[in-house]
Subunit: 560 residues, 2 copies
Amino acid sequence: MTEPDKAALQSVAAKSAAAESTADYWARQRARRVHLPQGQPVAHWLLTAQALTPTLTETPQPLQRWVQAIPAPHHLLRWEMVVAGTLDELQTRVWQGGEHFILDFGGHRTGHCSFNLTAVPALADAPVRLRLVFGEVPPDVAEPLHPYHGVLSAAWLPEETLTVDELPTRIRLPRRHAFRYVRVEVLATSSRFGVCFDDWLAHALTSAVGVVPALPAATPAWVRQVDLIAQATLRDCMQTVFEDGPRRDRRLWLGDLRLQALASHATVQADAVLRRCLYLFAALPRSDGMVNGCVQERPSPRPGQVMVLDYAALFAVTLQEYVQATGDLETGVTLWPVARRQVELLLARLDGDALFHDDGATWCFIDWSQTLDRDTAMQGVILFAIDRSLRLAEQIGRATDVQDWADCAHRMRAAVHRRQFDAALGLWRSGESGQLSVASQAWMVLGGVAADPAQAARALQASLAMPGVLQPTTPYLMHYVVEALVACGQRQQALAVIQDYWGAMVEAGADTFWEAFEPGQPLSTPYGDLHANSWCHAWSCTPSHFFRLAGLAAEAAAIS
Amino acid sequence: MTEPDKAALQSVAAKSAAAESTADYWARQRARRVHLPQGQPVAHWLLTAQALTPTLTETPQPLQRWVQAIPAPHHLLRWEMVVAGTLDELQTRVWQGGEHFILDFGGHRTGHCSFNLTAVPALADAPVRLRLVFGEVPPDVAEPLHPYHGVLSAAWLPEETLTVDELPTRIRLPRRHAFRYVRVEVLATSSRFGVCFDDWLAHALTSAVGVVPALPAATPAWVRQVDLIAQATLRDCMQTVFEDGPRRDRRLWLGDLRLQALASHATVQADAVLRRCLYLFAALPRSDGMVNGCVQERPSPRPGQVMVLDYAALFAVTLQEYVQATGDLETGVTLWPVARRQVELLLARLDGDALFHDDGATWCFIDWSQTLDRDTAMQGVILFAIDRSLRLAEQIGRATDVQDWADCAHRMRAAVHRRQFDAALGLWRSGESGQLSVASQAWMVLGGVAADPAQAARALQASLAMPGVLQPTTPYLMHYVVEALVACGQRQQALAVIQDYWGAMVEAGADTFWEAFEPGQPLSTPYGDLHANSWCHAWSCTPSHFFRLAGLAAEAAAIS
């Protein structure tokens, strides 16, 4: 926890009842209006964003192995990949309709796939029809994708059917995929010829080109390994925007962006891409000024029309951290009205007692958990955003814009603490049911509600260990657990969480970190079908941030 | 039958036994060698062929109807297409994953398909996956293509799966298809959007651009209708070569070429494309000089490596008719060694009694019938080729090259007539089993074996009417039946065959004429699956030739 947070907490604790009634106070807050730029300025922001579109670096990477998938019940993802033959054998093998094979590019890539296709004998008397399935993890290519039971569109399933009329030819698939493995099914040749494949390439694409600062010399191996995988995750999600995941969605989500930005500041410092993303959100708000939860880039940038309240709050946080990391005050000043507007809109949603209630009408994400009560966590997110907005206002000389926000925050902290803190357990509860969750503790700590660091640390540690407390299901929420642990000084505990959680994905063979992971239920999915999961998901890339900017690598080096 | 044929027949009938023994005579024939151009000249022929590649004319044609397929057991092809809604209704309809519809372009087209695809609401949160099935006839789009039972590659099935990432967009399918109908299956959108389609276009491609001579004013309607459909068949098969069928194979076959050339001479006079095709065959022979049954154009021209003995014989016929139609003696002189070589190679296959035996080692096509004995028909084909070669040699001043061929032909005619003519039935039999077929009669007549036109006419008419005589299964063989009827002066009978056979396809709703058609078994297929059939097949386009160059339209006008 940083100094201003502590000061705020002490102020809450010390504060007596306000002279104005709480209900009147919040009615006054809700009536406030921030006048946002409309029309021309917003259009100009879109031009700014587009001018910042990065050129992608393409790196052709050759095939590493010809593999087959062997059932492995002991393995977290159920399959083991073993060598099926040498690459020399593969390229001389003639395949007939009905046969298939699996390729392993040796690591996760976002990009295009290309190969040579030749008929044997040389004259093909019919077209060739192929089906390619792109796999980030073994189940993608070892298990049938159909029938599909997911709630997300089946069009996301990473499969392509192609018909090739003229052989020999080199094929480069026009659609981008995210893959380490490719399952190649020869659907049809003819009885008179087969096909050979060779010179397989993965054309890896990324906008991550910055030089990554080295970790301290004594950094333990497990930290280095987690760091490299986190960097690969960021790299493969960094395209012309910071995408949430290159397999599916492939979209700029604000919640993901804040975490990618943290990792970027610590590693490749892709400041221009980040600035582009901030401008995209700013340029494409809802009519009341709330930024969208996501932005779609193509065919032309447009708002995703999904509002996510906690993500909107994080706009201010991301902007403040951008300004702090880059010193680019001009962008801070330009986008300040947008950041300020998000907080205003969230404050207007509080009840007369300064408490946030998730009414279900607008999405509060926090985590993929279906059963999570989000009231308390959201209260923490808003407090976190207020705090960072105050810092940003200070940095850009606009503190007078928000001079009463500190007072708002004091009232919000007092209210949630009074209503939800279970003194016997030392934990904050959430909602009418008084639900206990790790999410609530993390966000109460980050929102500066704990009376002191010790109370914060006790709540976090108890919640992570106590039976019946709802645990995180995603690296997204797990990031905030680690961030909260770091904020209250629990650096070794933070390292332990990274080692346990991210380390378990490494154990399972992850080349990049996953969208969803519950250690106790490794095959769980937020979408009803494991094949809808994204296995390279930006919001899981923050170990690289913690190791560097939060100094956890040095911490690990010191204790190793 | 033309004058030289008659003279030859009389000569055979009059001839006494040869002084030289028959076996000795044929041993001497087989020992002859024609020295073909090798190396440079052949390479030059390929350049000549490529320089003659026509530019295709593209004609965008709008969608005509939104239809649905209704089971119609009384219909030859089992389905009736009825209007499903107006085009206005179609273009405002929003489609979700799992839905499908059928489009009707109002006639057969060879070319590309394009359309606009829009998301409703405008923001698509996932790709769209579509499956398009291209139908020449209703069963293609009304019935599932899978499971497929055909012997030809399933890659020929006219289906495309495409995934579209960015909406709205205009899509033009890169692969060419042959279609009147398109079945559009929306495999997947998402729960948050559907798709609209509009501005469907068929981009019809052809190299048939010549002005078609009109039929006589009094030509009956049925003749005009058959003629138009035959012209459409030729048009849609005429691409950068004369293809056999634009749906499947899409290849230059020599047997098809001769019939297309006849129709071309009578209609669009695509002499340059025909010349290109003759040069392609000439440039890509087998090492002994035999031309291949087919040539593949792409990615670069190459021999099809399928030898078809009757097709090889027809090279000389096609060249002779080309020279006669165009007056292009230079091409006749240049390609004469190739034409001559085919006949030499066929003569070398005759036995000591001057008879051809189909040993099964090299394909003799004649018709798709599985049970047809081809010995007698092949004897007729070779005789037909000798006759036309003699004419060609005369035209180009090379008669001395082949001065003993007339004598060969006399011996061949005498031998087959002696061995196979069943005087009691007035029919030629074939093979050891003495099989009776229409094919044998047609080719004996065209080979000039009949003693006189009356014998020819009786054999043809008897074979078409007599139970137990093997009937044609394809328009290809049916063409030669009509050609034989015309050759022996049975012009009304020729018209009747066209009206019965091609007219039955018109009755069944044909927009172009089919590859295979047995009137008694309309769902028969040479390939084990009706969906492997080609429904626009070049070898069925010759009614336009008969109506014009053989004067049958005038005949029909006179008797109507």
